[in-house]
Amino acid sequence: MKDKMKILLNGMFKENPVLILALGCCSVLAVSVSVSGGFGMGVALTFVLVCSNVVISLLRNIIPSKVRIPCYIVVIATFVTLVEMLMEAYLKSLYDSLGVFLSLIVVNCIVLGRAEMFASKHGVVDSFFDGLGMGIGYTMVIVGMSVIRELFGSGTLLGYRIIPEGYQLGILTQAPGGFFLFGCAIAILVAAMAKKGKKFEPKMGCDGNCAACHSACEDRKEAEAK
């Protein structure tokens, strides 16, 4: 159980997908203007991440490495479409507020990155906890940012007015404010980890950041097999 907890916490802090691996920033910056939208996006992503991790881990010995990326994409797209259909039917307002970013979970680097880096190499239970941890890590960041952006940017929290009209920092609801806050969040987490002496040491050349890595993963797989 202890190692499962470690995998879970890994996704939340040590390898937080948004702040440390810098994956999936696009949706975090775009959706974090309202708390309800941010939370909904976090839950949707966590669901997709857990499901796709489990399925890909189950299929990891069946999927030939030549077609693994198309297979992963098909599995991920399936779960995203499922979430989309269910949300359109039962949570219409959330569906409208997430807009295109819901469909864009398909190409969210976190999901594909975890499939490639973790689920394809680990067992089902481990992959489940990895997906859950990464999903919670993502949700924490997006909700944390949206609380600040909604409270100080629009003066409301979950739609209820907290700060009276006319005392808002309008820039926080726009893209520059999002980037500014994002940078601050990264700095705070890294500083907190440095204080605890937990420096993030990338294990591989690309440390799981498939978006920024151009090396062929085949080589890495071979090196690991040896």
């Binding site: 030939p64 077609v67 297979c71 399936t78 499922l82 359109e88 039917a89």
Partner: protein, 180 residues
Amino acid sequence: MSKETFNEYIKPFVVLVCICLVVSFLLAFTNSKTAPVVAENERIEAERTRQAVLPGSASFTELDVSAIDGVETAFRETSGAGYVVTAGYKGYGGIVTVTVGLDNDGKVVGISANVSSETKGIGSKAGQESYLSNYKDLVNAAAAEQVDTISNATYSSTAVRNGVSSILRNFESIKGASEK
């Protein structure tokens, strides 16, 4: 055929096809469950829009307007409070649908426009109350055509204007239309 050829060329193909087949069935099944709910939600949403543009209305009967050009759907309020008519015209990004509530004399009592296909913050101004209220209380189509468009959002606001004037122009024939 050697085992190598199979693993190299056939297996990837077979596995991918199988995965795709399985997920297609899964998605088709989910869609068959959610599609009716989505359709029902849309119906309720449309009903709500109709009630919003015609104050004091409750239920509606749909009229057959397939023979009338420039009008999409028309509803008569069951108790006779008036009519709700929709028309769609091309805006900047897509079709702008206007929903107009009319009393029995053909006067505009309420209006709303779906500008979701228009540019946010620019074309979407054509769907705001401040612009749409210009059309309130108008009776004839010529007057609707005199309403100014919004500068910078000419395409979107022209679509709204076209919709309203077309509805007003066709009001008499809508009134005479049979029930669907």
